[in-house]
């Protein structure tokens, strides 16, 4: 037994030599990470896995940048694709960089001029969504199971704020002298109505007192 690298359980395991430690390390490396065991099942509601949340944050950040880039239609498409891909990868690795994507887009809009109304409403929606999902993604690891109930509670807060933001964007467009076509007005009203309807439909946080 000592030839196998140490003592058996109950016979004191502290005499492992350096070679034995190396053997243990190599064995562990050969087997791969054994950090998880599948013998424990915690029963929770419907879940989404953590990497999907992180992927969602990356997709939203990339969509935010792509929408701003291609929405104006002034800059080269190849560069836009490259920037979008870079944003996707960076946010997938560091989800908190989604906030940086919002700053980048805000700076771009500042330099590029007043966007059309549909683009402004979309950027307001995507920017807030990317930051909100990034806030969830930084809390979870790749294999963390995220209950959909948590997503539902966050979505309720999100739509309440987003409804106000969409209305604010509409008001800002009118104040800023932006040209609002009849179709734009209908689209903006539809977005606001959808957001309000979601705020009504989505679950509110229960107020049950702890036992």
């Amino acid at each position: 037994v000592r030839g196998l690298g140490g003592a058996r359980l109950g016979r004191g395991g502290g005499d492992a030599s350096g070679a034995a430690r190396w053997t243990a390390l190599l064995s562990r490396a050969r087997r791969g990470p054994v950090s998880r065991v599948s013998d424990t099942v915690v029963q929770v509601g419907p879940c989404v896995v953590g990497w999907a949340v992180r992927l969602g944050a990356a997709v939203l950040a990339a969509a935010l940048i792509a929408t701003a880039w291609f929405g104006y239609g002034r800059w080269p498409a190849a560069t836009g694709a490259l920037v979008t891909a870079a944003a996707f990868v960076l946010v997938a690795v560091w989800p908190s960089l989604a906030v940086g994507a919002l700053l980048l887009v805000g700076t771009g809009v500042f330099g590029a001029g007043v966007p059309p109304l549909w683009l402004l409403l979309t950027l307001v929606l995507l920017g807030h969504l990317a930051v909100a999902v990034a806030g969830l993604a930084v809390r979870v690891r790749l294999l963390t199971r995220v209950e959909w109930a948590v997503v539902g509670l966050l979505a309720r807060d999100f739509v309440v704020v987003q409804a106000g933001a969409q209305l604010l964007a509409l008001v800002a467009a009118l104040i800023g002298g932006m040209h609002v076509a009849a179709g734009d007005a209908v689209r903006a009203a539809a977005v606001v109505l959808v957001v309000v309807a979601l705020a009504v439909v989505l679950p509110w946080a229960p107020t049950r007192k702890p036992r």
């Binding site: 030839g3 196998l4 140490g6 058996r8 359980l9 109950g10 016979r11 395991g13 492992a16 053997t23 243990a24 064995s27 087997r31 998880r36 065991v37 013998d39 424990t40 915690v42 029963q43 929770v44 509601g45 953590g50 989800p95 989604a98 906030v99 919002l102 700053l103 805000g106 500042f110 007043v114 966007p115 402004l120 307001v124 920017g127 807030h128 930051v131 990034a134 806030g135 969830l136 809390r139 979870v140 963390t144 209950e147 109930a149 948590v150 509670l153 966050l154 807060d157 704020v161 987003q162 106000g164 933001a165 964007a169 800002a172 946080a205 107020t207 049950r208 007192k209 702890p210 036992r211």
Partner: protein
Amino acid sequence: MTAGQPPGTGAPWARARVSVAGAIVGVVLLAGGAVGGRADVAVLGAAPLVAAVWGFARRPSGDALVGAGAPSAEPRPGALDASLLVAGPHDAVAAVVGVRRGRREAAELLVATPGGWRELPVVVTTVRTGPQDIATVDAIALGPGLASASEPSAADTRQTVVLPSPRPLDELPLPPVLRGLTGGHESRRPGEGGGLRDVHPFAPGDRLRRIDWRVTARRAPDLHELYVRREHALAEAVVLLVVDSRDDVGPDPQTWRGSLLPRSQDPTSLDLARQAATSVAQRYLALGDRVGLDDLGVKRRPLPPGGGRRQLDRIRHALAVTRPEGDPLVRLRPPQLPSGALVYVFSTFLDDESAQVASQWRRSGHRVVAVDVLPTLRDRHLDDRERLALRLLVMARVDRLASLRDVDVEIVTWRDAPAVSLAGAARRGQRRPGAAS
């Protein structure tokens, strides 16, 4: 549940970094839009800023508490049912819960905590017996909008003791000498309860109802002498179960060094020993015999031989708490046994000590059954050095078991078909002169 600061007291929770960053970016965009006269730029930062400020305004205070609940029923090998409790302030909306078993991570969850409270059922699948960790759990509670987070809670661990379950056995060997005048076995002594021993002339002390009138009529028609039927007495066996708790090795030799733990679906040698000893004890106790328990690994008062259902419960509990403790014990002499006892030694026989003890008991006249509880080994994944070491170990063990056979110790391998081996040992014992006397 671990103690902590009550919800609603103490400092508010720390702000989340992403929310803080979102608020800063929102302020920058608002300021940029205001300075540049660009309402469209300002409105881009409004939503993250409002969301962050709203979340900060609702920051809870107090500690998150976690706890692992006790199993709902008597734990048995297979599946352990328990519950995890997560509690925080009333306005906490979610919690990141980490669950570990032993040194391994079992699950990480982000769950909703409606009202700041959540109970999560957990099922642990394991074939292991004895002291078992159900789970170690810790948590971080999250405030509204995930804009704030509590300090990580202190980890809470819940343990339970899983009693070994018996396996049905049929015939079992008996000791060379039976004891007492009651029991489930027929002895050679005259008495009552057993089969016909002989027919004998009536003597003072014989009961009148024992008179066999047919034999009397045949042998003494004039009734000058009466004949009585004499029966064998009943007797009980005394069985001592000796468990070698110094080893707790699994099927994977790489886990023997202790740095890796055996998988929960792999029974270890001590699990097999517990099951084997429980099965043997249950069968003997069902036959009315007396069964005791001793441990080769620790100096502890042995469980004296006894009978009945409560004795089986005592043996199961004693076996369940048996585990390797500290440095192995070096015994100067084998534990003392009741005279004429049948001895079962449950061991892996990976070293000489248990084999020597079994040999000494056999030489002193006891019938000894050595139960080999080493699990079926898996060696495919071993490297050459480890495989060679294992081969040497197995060769020494085979020699050790062969030397035990040479001194007439009966070997039963629990991982194969123990019921068949034990029934064979029982039949061999019946052919032995003086057996079941």
